[in-house]
Symmetry: C2
Subunit: 246 residues, 2 copies
């Protein structure tokens, strides 16, 4: 059976979860706890040496990178529900949106998410405990991110990434005011991968996202949340409790 | 006929050029001059509102983003030469490498490339001429990059991106010391997209890349340069003359 290693249904971990539920595929859930740094443990790094979730294990194959996992599921498990357009031009339109979320939108949201929530996870640790945790992280950029979560992100980085979030939400809204889905005519991995990052924006960033300010975006978020597969996912897979905002 | 709008055979413009030559597809070459900011002219922004090359026009379809163009060519024009693995796991392995070059490797190389070469293109302009050029750039981050090319990149950014280049070349070399191609067993878009950024590293970054320091990387670069399609591309499509290094 397919095995998924992930956090709860948010951000990158939500992408393969949504794809699996949408396609109705059975899979073994292996839930890691970010607060315990479980993705940096030796047992998990034996599966993904980069110490990152999500990971899909399909027999002998270990598939990494959330967007690539979604594409793999679509390639390897064709189902009645297809999450990729049939035409080459449609596929390209989908990929432009999944590339954009991976290169631009997810990074600015990640900085602010870490600033607001991840700091609380590590501030209770002693310096020695924290250094021990950081030593186990295989990617230097991730080590830097954990340190910044503990010590504080530079103010100019926070401001720049808030600006990019505003740009991102406007770009989505402009498109979604004119189109039902990101690729016109079909719910695809472009919607799944962008929804995984955009869900909850009205709560986290009400200055940028609301029914008044971004009607297309909010309509699209609600429309995705009403899908049976999405409701099933949220009912069956619990979200992390991130604690109070910093 | 397919129409490609691009700069010369380097960086992102090289990706579709290599794919077109490798697949033996006929196409109309539309060469833009970056020194004249031709990609920010109104006629070109009517084709790609983001003012970026490369762009592929195929009848009514306008395909943007270099890696996506390569995927589109593979989807729409299946040829005897296939540049994508047949298995789902092989496709995923390819996408991990094309995702990585787009998210990590190309950005650090881009900063240093702009620092070394692009500054010369804009330093001769008057302030008024330069502001006029910047006003025509649709993406704010690109405006910032042109300003930095003129005024100088922050030293900590240059140092951080040099560090990332060293990390990138080591990652490629570690893999290429053990494997002929990035996806074992087949020359794919992973090789094309990474070669487009890695070509010439021994000249530009001899402190990180050489036959002694990165034997796998240099062997792979030479092996790609020896391919008939690659030789044909370099013979038929002239490189930009970037002038002396800054």
């Amino acid at each position: 059976m397919l095995k998924l290693y992930s956090f709860g249904p948010a951000a990158n971990s939500m992408k393969p979860l949504l794809t699996l539920y949408e396609k109705g595929l059975e899979f073994e859930k292996n839930r890691l706890d970010p607060a315990k740094f479980e993705h940096h443990t030796d047992w998990f790094k034996a599966i993904n040496p980069r110490g990152q979730v999500p990971v899909l294990v399909d027999g002998e194959h270990v598939i990494t990178e959330s967007t690539v996992i979604c594409e793999y599921l679509e390639d390897e498990y064709p189902t009645a529900i297809s999450l990729r357009p049939a035409t080459s031009a449609g596929k390209a339109a989908m990929r432009v949106w999944t590339k954009w979320v991976d290169e631009y939108f997810c990074w600015c949201v990640s900085t602010i998410g870490w600033h607001r929530y991840v700091g609380n996870m590590v501030k209770a640790l002693s310096d020695a405990e924290f250094e021990e945790k950081v030593k186990a992280i295989p990617i230097l950029e991730q080590q830097v991110k954990w340190r910044r979560a503990r010590e504080g992100f530079p103010q100019d980085m926070l401001e720049e990434d808030m600006r990019k979030i505003a740009v991102s939400l406007k770009r989505l809204d402009d498109h979604l005011c004119a189109h039902e889905w990101l690729v016109p005519g079909q719910y695809t991995l472009a919607d799944i991968c962008n929804f995984a990052i955009a869900n909850g924006m009205q709560l986290g960033f009400p200055e940028f996202a609301s029914a008044q300010k971004t009607p297309g975006l909010v309509r699209w978020i609600e429309q995705i949340k009403a899908r049976p597969a999405v409701q099933q996912m949220f009912a069956k897979v619990e979200l992390e409790k991130l604690g109070p905002r910093d």
